[in-house]
Amino acid sequence: MKEIVVISGKGGTGKTSLTASFAVLEKEKVVVADCDVDAADMHLLMNPDFKKSQEFFSGELAVIKQEDCIQCGKCADICRFDAIPFINNTFVVDEISCEGCGYCARICPTDAIINIQQKVGHWYISDIKTGSKMVHAKLAIGADNSGKLVAQVKNEAKKIAEEGNYEYILVDGSPGVGCPVVSSLSGANYVVLVTEPTVSGLHDLKRVYELVHKFNIKAGCIINKFDLNLSVTDEIKQFLTEEKINHLADIPYSNNFTQAITKSKTIVEFDTGKLKEIIENTWTEIKNIIHLI
């Protein structure tokens, strides 16, 4: 079983459209994991049934029991996150600022502070239209700890893949280089980087690859909308050569990416021409590479 993680650094480069296309091409041999839990969109293309739904708790939140509080103010003094303001003659916890470190509860002389588990969101296991399974999640509004939810989604996908003898796990990652991305990279066999020939696309590709390189994971790159700016495309190719990243595909600028989404379809279901052929070849290429790793 091989785990392939699709990331991009920059958002909006076509990650989800491509990941969903690969899932449709590989049908029942692949478990899909949508690890962009902040703004999960893959379910819009995969027609999931939300068969199993589970709440996810992680991290803590301080709560002050007002009846036991003697207003000594020690908690507010030690809080490094300014999360315990004094409002209307009472100390209250600012839930948005509280990091859940638990320090205040430990030093409160009257044990007036307790920590409650914080709801981070929901995760789901669904049957999807390809005849396979997908693990996905929804982060609660304003929730912290999205990295933990990503880890949960990945672990569930791994369990399903192992029990069902699936060949691949296909992971749709989130933009950026922070904790959710680090979390989605752990345990990956291969990383697919999706970029676009814009100054931002190249800049973000370089930063996210630095992270991938730190994890020592082999990577390949798809240049989407390659014909938008051929000179930046050349710069990207040069970077790929220097870093020994597999150059997987050049995909032309096409409104079919958006058109497919508005029909709730993946590109390989919507497009019947060149675009479909390129994506099919790309997926074959990825499979060839990972079987050699």
């Binding site: 650094g9 920059k10 948005i96 304003g142 950026g176 922070g178 100054v199 508005t262 709730s264």
Partner: protein, 288 residues
């Protein structure tokens, strides 16, 4: 006045709106543009200014002093983030997991874990004509964006007074980094695109802004590419649609080369004027 430019979905045009709006407004106002997408900051690729200041940004982490340590185990017990672990006769600190709460350090009975600084990123300030520009980037491998966003906002608050229009280019998503970037804002512009992905993530962003009690409006980018669902949703929810930037390959090409757009494409400038008028009428007047 503080204005955050945010979005649920990545790649909808936050940076395009931020750099063009900031540059346009700076023709007649004092403006500071602040790139708070510290994981992948891009505004600097579009604003060609002179570097006038740079500084390293640090977070605080505990540093184990073996001679002082009695291996009592309190540090490990009080760390909710598993950033301090006792392994045999060693105390290991994992800086990337540390939230700098100081609990281990201050509760250590023998002062064996004093806090020290660790570099997490760099802040740079530029000047381009009448536009001030501040950006920070997180070092690769650092996982927490929030402390750097917090320190960057603090720097801007100290350096630029209230006569400045402060524009925050925010990170994507709906979790802690975007909340840190928008919680001090007087108004939030949510940039979206008229597609099912755009709409889905816009709804999440709207819920987040409601939770934060923020005043907000929507800017539709790549208008014309998908369908009318975003506009219908905004109408139904009574969310103002402040501007619509057309879908145009020429815009994408200008963006791809790191160029500002509004001086090249008049339809974009017209939309920026709408945003400017909205700011004057609805945001500025509410503050004074």
């Amino acid at each position: 006045m503080k204005i955050a430019i945010a979005s649920g979905k990545g790649g909808t045009g936050k940076t395009t709106v931020s750099v063009n709006l900031a540059s346009y407004l700076s023709e007649n106002n004092n403006v500071v543009l602040v790139d708070l997408d510290v994981e992948e900051p891009n505004s600097a690729l579009f604003i060609k200014g002179n570097l006038i200041h740079e500084e390293d940004k640090f977070k605080m982490i505990p540093d184990w002093k073996q001679p002082e340590c009695t291996l009592c185990g309190i540090c490990q017990k009080v760390c909710n983030f598993h950033a301090v672990i006792q392994l045999g006769t060693m105390i290991l600190v994992f800086p990337e997991l540390c939230h700098s709460c100081y609990a281990c350090s201050e509760l250590c009975p023998t002062n064996a874990l004093p806090m020290i600084t660790k570099k997490m990123g760099e802040l740079k300030e530029y000047k381009s004509n009448n536009l001030a520009f501040v950006n920070s980037h997180l070092l690769i491998g650092e996982e927490q964006a929030v402390p750097l966003i917090h320190q960057t906002i603090k720097y801007v608050d100290l350096k630029f007074n209230d006569t400045f229009i402060k524009i925050y280019d925010s990170p994507p998503g709906t979790s802690c980094p975007v909340i840190e970037a928008s919680k001090d804002a007087d108004f939030v512009f949510l940039v979206t695109e008229p597609t099912p992905f755009g709409l889905h993530d816009l709804k999440l962003a709207v819920d987040t802004m409601k939770e934060l009690n923020k005043a907000f409006g929507v800017i539709i980018n790549r208008n014309g590419i998908g369908n009318d669902d975003v506009e219908n949703y905004c109408k139904k929810e009574k969310i103002p649609v402040i501007a619509k930037i057309p879908n145009n390959r020429k815009i994408a090409e200008l963006y791809s080369g790191g160029n500002l757009i509004y001086n090249e494409i008049s339809e974009v400038k017209e939309e920026l004027i709408k945003i400017e008028n909205f700011i004057k009428l609805n945001i500025f007047s509410n503050l004074t």
